[in-house]
């Protein structure tokens, strides 16, 4: 008992402990009047790093030196914003000459060094008691292109990239409201990554915003590599099989959720937005639903939800039937199934586990390989192994059908996160079916349902609008009714304003 609780709770405490040790205290250091002293100090502070460039300057303003980190600064910008105007100008104050958008004067050299790490260059003139810190970062962004794993057939084809500012820009461009608020953080004592939460001030639940704000500020860790790590600190139920955070690389999906009063979390270096609080059904919505007609959208959405049941239940059901309740097979197909399983040496649960594991392996193998090889893996795995295994008589035909259908059904989920959950949940269900047949399945399902009823994502019921039941919210969760009928925001994000459309006839775009 104690062992388990330690195992599960020490995550946070561990990161706290190490944080104290590695914290480097920096004292103030005034800028010296001698340029040489300053250069030496900077070189020492950065441990003689190789990418520190030192360009001596002699111009009409005086004699000085420009220091910058080669790796994070753009030489073109240095030339354009600093050197060119300096040499062209007379004896004016460099502040009024340098044309970069961000020029600061600092007397503290330590502060200047910190800024250098972010792409600033430091200019010091002999005899001056202050230095000029100019922002000349080198920007090396990927193009804004459609995310590979969240393709939409119709609708916007742009996606988030690794630069948070570009991502924020993508959001701002679509939401013109002045209520769009960005709160910035600098997280991780060593990594010092930029992060921000984005929400609409008049929609998002202020209590929730404050809570997330508080929790993020309380994170005390050295390394915060990506956004997901941070939200794992923030989320309450880490051991639930269900994802409580929506990850998306699509700006349109993010914006749609922001407009429903949810909160997005963005981070430098992560091309995804993390959205909270979410409900189960958000994972089954895809932007495509909103780019097609109501009936088609509803049909596809119901199909996806149905696929959830197939993906977690079908193998379990089949195992229960062939090992406990074969009476339920209708007599027309009974002998067909019996004929195919008759010569299989193993019990169905082993058959199923073997095939499911094989499929999971194939999927994992195919994912990591470049596309052309990935395809051949599919052929080898799917066709060759599948066929051989049946011919040898290790696995029966119906089992192959069941496993294949299950695999296809688990691909349907528009969110990878949920797809993992579905794949995981299948195994306990299969085992319980092998132990107690239908009763085993029903007990496991009930346990899952109870869990879903209890589970909350950031204080909001996770299984809304089914539990608690709110039929009004079905309009945009289980179904997708025409936009002019979606007059109210869903309850589960607790947005401040429920009404999103007052005039029924006005067709307001929602997502």
């Amino acid at each position: 008992m104690g062992f388990f609780s330690r195992m599960f709770t020490n995550n946070r405490s561990k990161s706290k402990g190490t944080a104290k040790r590695s914290h480097i205290a920096s004292e103030d250091r005034a800028v010296s009047a001698a340029t040489k002293d300053n250069v030496e100090y900077v070189q020492q502070a950065l441990y003689q790093t190789g990418d520190l460039e030192n360009r001596p300057i002699v111009c009409s303003a005086g004699q000085g030196c420009l220091l910058y980190l080669d790796s994070v600064c753009d030489p073109d910008k240095i030339h354009e914003f600093i050197l060119k105007p300096l040499f062209a100008a007379g004896e004016d104050d460099p502040m009024s000459v340098i044309t970069s958008s961000d020029v600061q004067k600092h007397t503290d050299l330590e502060r200047a060094i910190d800024l250098m790490l972010e792409g600033y260059s430091v200019l010091h003139f002999e005899g001056g008691r202050e230095c000029y810190v100019v922002r000349v970062p080198s920007v090396n962004n990927r193009a804004v292109e459609e995310p590979m794993n969240e393709k939409a057939i119709q609708g916007a084809h742009n996606g988030f990239i690794e630069s948070m500012n570009v991502n924020l820009q993508l959001i701002r461009k679509q939401i013109g409201s002045r209520n769009l608020v960005v709160r910035r953080y600098r997280l991780g004592k060593m990594t010092k990554s930029d992060a921000s939460i984005v929400y609409l001030n008049d929609l998002a639940d202020p209590k929730l915003v404050d809570e997330i704000d508080r929790k993020i500020k309380a994170i005390d860790a050295d390394n915060l590599m990506n956004a997901y790590m941070i939200l794992e600190y923030v989320e309450n139920q880490s051991f639930s099989p269900f994802p409580q955070i929506l990850q998306t690389e699509r700006p349109d999906r993010t914006i749609g959720n922001l407009l429903e009063g949810r909160i997005a979390f963005l981070m430098e270096g992560t091309p995804t937005a993390l959205i909270v609080p979410v409900s189960f059904f958000v994972f089954y919505q895809s932007p495509d639903d909103y780019n097609s007609r109501t009936l088609a959208g509803t049909f596809i959405r119901l199909l996806r939800l149905f696929s959830f049941f197939i993906a977690i239940m079908l193998p379990a059901y089949y195992i229960a039937v062939v090992s406990f309740h074969y009476e339920v097979i209708p007599k027309e197909v009974f002998y067909q199934i019996k004929g195919s399983v008759a010569k299989i040496p193993y019990p169905p649960i082993l058959e199923a586990l073997f095939m499911e594991l094989a499929i999971e392996l194939l999927r994992e193998a195919g994912m990591r390989l470049p596309a052309p090889i990935g395809q051949s893996i599919g052929i080898v795995g799917g066709l060759v192994i599948g066929d051989a295994v049946v011919r040898v008589g290790l696995v029966s035909y119906p089992m192959i059908i069941v496993v294949a259908l299950t695999a296809i059904a688990s691909f349907v989920v528009p969110s990878h996160e949920m797809s993992y959950s579905v794949r995981l949940l299948r195994f306990p269900l299969m085992l319980s079916a092998a132990f107690l047949g239908f009763q085993g399945i029903v007990f496991s399902l009930m346990a899952i349902l109870v869990h879903l009823c209890i589970l909350e994502s950031f204080g909001r019921p996770y299984f809304a609008p089914l539990a608690p039941m709110r039929l009004k919210d079905w309009k945009d969760s289980l179904m997708r009714l025409p936009f002019w009928m979606l007059n109210e925001r869903p309850m589960e994000s607790h947005s401040q304003k429920l009404i999103q459309e007052s005039n029924r006839q006005k067709g307001g775009a929602k997502r």
Binding site: M1, F4, S5, F8, T9, F239, V321, V322, S323, F324, Y326, E327, K331, F334, Y335, Q336, I337, K338, G339, S340, V341, A342, K343, I344, P347, P348, Y397, L431, S432, A434, F435, L436, G437, G440
Partner: protein, 370 residues
């Protein structure tokens, strides 16, 4: 957190150690598709079953049938004895047809043989049930008819006859003969030139067979007892015997049946049954008449009604003689005249009940010619 984890763990361990007591793997089961019971000497039972197996290959599937016969004390005993000679686990859960030899059910009550079917939770209550002329064994021993196994063949045969409304829909469940207030009847099968065929119906008095009907009679019987359905076809001979051969028959297809059965008790004593049957039929075959003239049609209607009324009266008499209350007169007495019911001895009373049977017929359709 940790407590919940421990709970989950407990359940998982409980599951893991428990194994699976009631597992019945489909691959190990040998399922009977048709079973039959016959009389054996010394009050014993002679049970025959056909176990159907299917082998599936890439070329398709192939059925085989395996026949076992044992002599046993009771049905469950017979199951045990068959299991002794069958490889794999014997199972009756997918039984499709249960046959009784005619002699067995004439000389013994049917109930004792069925008891296990009602008691066993896995038993196939939806299996069809029929009586075999001669012995059931002889029929099951046919093994294969064409490329169908005997179980499948008989089941399909009975099913198609049910759809044709020539025999009633009976399964083990509907048979349950406890105080129903009517007597059941079963389809009657026989082997005809090496092929099983439906011959008619077997009427039961209580739980013992007393009378059989041929197919023509059984169709009228179905109409009378309210078991008839749409598409019941009858080929009749209207009472014009002077026609030359080829012209004397008319085939009708019953489209709608309106049946009223009234039990009237006069003076708290005399039981009288008024059975009125109104049929709407389509004429499917009538070489002698052209029915565009209303008078011809009405004449035909009248003749057919008379013929049917006549047939009905004969069958009712047969039923009464056999003590077979297929119409459920007893149930009506129980429901509407409970006092009288408690007083009388129904078995004695029933043959004396006066039936007033009338069939009237109306032609609604004559095909695409008139």
């Amino acid at each position: 957190m940790s407590r919940r984890f421990v709970c989950t763990l407990t359940v998982a361990v409980a599951l893991a150690v428990c194994g699976c007591w009631d597992q019945q793997l489909l691959k190990n089961e040998r399922t009977v598709s048709i079973g039959g019971m016959d009389e054996a000497p010394k009050g014993k039972l002679r049970a025959t079953v056909s176990i159907r197996d299917t082998t599936i290959t890439e070329a398709g599937s192939k059925d085989t049938s395996e026949i076992h016969t044992v002599v046993a004390r009771s049905t469950q005993h017979a199951r045990q004895k068959i299991d002794e000679e069958v490889s794999g686990i014997y199972s009756a859960a997918k039984l499709r047809v249960l046959l009784f030899g005619e002699e067995l059910v004439r000389n013994h009550d049917i109930m004792p043989f069925l008891d296990v079917y009602y008691r066993d939770p896995k038993s196939p209550l939806s299996a069809r049930i029929a009586v075999a002329r001669g012995t059931a064994e002889e029929l099951i021993r046919l093994k294969m008819v064409g490329d169908k196994t005997i179980g499948l063949y008989v089941d399909d045969l009975l099913k198609s006859m049910e759809l044709d409304a020539a025999i009633p829909q009976v399964n083990i469940q509907t048979l349950h003969p406890l105080d129903r207030g009517f007597d059941f009847s079963l389809p009657l099968l026989a082997v005809k030139r090496g092929v099983p065929a439906v011959q008619g119906m077997a009427l039961f008095n209580g739980i013992r067979l007393t009378e059989t009907l041929n197919l023509d009679e059984s169709r009228v019987y179905l109409l009378l007892t309210g078991l008839g359905k749409q598409n019941l076809r009858m080929t009749l001979q209207p009472m014009e015997k002077n026609k030359s051969s080829g012209y004397q028959y008319v085939t009708i297809n019953v489209k709608k049946i309106r049946r009223s059965l009234k039990v009237i008790v006069a003076d708290d004593q005399e039981i009288q049954v008024r059975l009125n049957l109104k049929l709407r039929v389509a004429v499917e075959e009538d070489p002698s008449n052209h029915l565009y003239k209303m008078s011809v049609m009405h004449n035909l209607e009248r003749l057919l009604s008379e013929e049917l009324t006549d047939n009905s009266k004969k069958i009712i008499r047969k039923m009464q003689k056999a003590g077979h209350d297929g119409c459920g007169v007893a149930r009506r007495l129980m429901a509407f005249h409970p006092k009288l019911w408690k007083r009388i001895d129904w078995k004695k009373e029933y043959p004396q009940v006066r039936f007033d049977t009338r069939v009237s017929l109306e032609i609604v359709n004559t095909g695409i010619t008139q």
